[in-house]
């Protein structure tokens, strides 16, 4: 059985903290960091990385194109299911 696991990498210096990515994520992965980048914006990050499926919704809706998306299929070993 395969499980899809995704991850996003956010260009934290270019992110403007607009938060449009947050509601676009179907699995509520994204939130904004508490600190700010050099422009003063709270940038996005994976608050729930385990839930990311690499669907790229966030990346395609991001106005600044700061999100890069990765996705990997991982095999789940049979004895993990027991």
């Amino acid at each position: 059985m395969a499980k899809v696991r995704g991850a996003i990498v956010v260009d934290s210096e270019k992110c403007k903290g607009c938060e449009v990515c947050v509601p676009s994520c179907p699995t509520q992965v994204i939130d904004m960091v508490r600190e700010v980048n050099s422009k003063g914006y709270h940038f996005a990050y994976m608050a729930n990385p385990e839930a990311c499926t690499g669907c790229a919704n966030c990346a395609i809706v991001c106005p600044d194109g700061v999100i890069t998306v990765y996705r990997k299929k991982s095999e789940v070993k049979l004895n993990d299911l027991q």
Binding site: R5, V20, Y41, M46, A56, C58, V61, Y70, R71
Partner: protein
């Protein structure tokens, strides 16, 4: 410090699913956080890249927030006087018929000062594409009323809301030009949700395909937000847009293959 995890086993080149197109230059966008211009630019450049037409495409930037579009799009571009982009594009396409020519215009550019140029290029049935970013306001100059500002909407020059008894109704320029035989493909989309971004990309792709056919104007309106002008956060602005702008400017195809879409 917020704890940030970058799973090294996933974040590898072979697992790459999506990355901003290289046809968007690395320069940080000058648009406000959450502004649809960035998304629209990127979608257009993605399509240009996928069609392999970077060296055949020339864009015409307007006056408005996106006057600096040429700083971000990695194609030959011209900056037009306010409203005049369709005239420039007319000359470009007639002089270089095999190039892909597009204008990228805001609501003031296309539907106020440029109304004549917009209508006549459409009426002549030129073979280029018009991208019309409609956010119902003049963003760059500080949030004044636009021809597409909806009734009751407050702006800096309609502080008590657009009063149609004084300023008339919003100008539905897209529906107007769709009536002209010279327009071949007219559609209205948005870029505020992933599903809409995907639809817009299909529309942009179709618009460039229509250029190849040399049958008439392809016109893609993108209803977008202006959080700074509307004085809302980006997500609240998108919600407001759904609730207030879309009823006025409904999304969907208006004209396909030269025929008005019957609803």
């Amino acid at each position: 410090m917020t704890e940030m995890i970058i799973p090294a086993d996933i974040v590898r080149e072979e697992n790459l699913v999506y990355k901003k197109t290289s046809l968007m230059l690395e320069k940080p966008l000058s648009y406000c956080p959450g502004c649809g211009h960035g998304t629209a630019h990127r979608i257009i450049m993605e399509v240009v890249e996928e069609l392999g037409i970077q060296s055949e495409t020339i864009g015409v930037a307007p006056v408005g927030c996106s006057v600096l579009a040429y700083e971000f799009m990695n194609i030959d571009m011209q900056q037009a006087a306010h409203g005049r982009a369709p005239a420039i594009a007319t000359a470009l396409k007639r002089l270089m018929p095999d190039k892909f020519i597009f204008t990228y215009q805001g609501d003031g550019d296309l539907a106020a000062i440029g109304t004549a140029e917009s209508i006549h290029a459409c009426n002549r049935g030129e073979f280029f594409t018009i991208f019309f970013i409609n956010n119902g306001i003049y963003g760059m100059t500080g949030g004044q009323m636009a021809p597409t500002t909806i009734p009751g909407m407050p702006t800096s020059t309609s502080p008590y809301g657009r009063d149609i008894s004084i300023m008339g109704n919003p100008l539905k320029i897209t529906e107007l030009i769709a009536q002209l035989p010279g327009t071949y493909y007219v559609t209205r989309q948005s870029v505020h949700t992933p599903a809409n971004v995907r639809k817009t990309k299909k529309a942009v792709m179709k618009a460039f395909e229509v250029q190849k056919q040399k049958v008439g104007i392809s016109f893609v309106e993108i209803v977008s937000n202006c959080n700074s002008g509307w004085k809302l956060t980006p997500n609240k602005a998108n919600k407001w847009m759904e609730e207030n702008m879309f009823p006025f400017y409904p999304l969907g195809d208006i004209k396909v293959d030269g025929q008005l879409v019957v609803k």
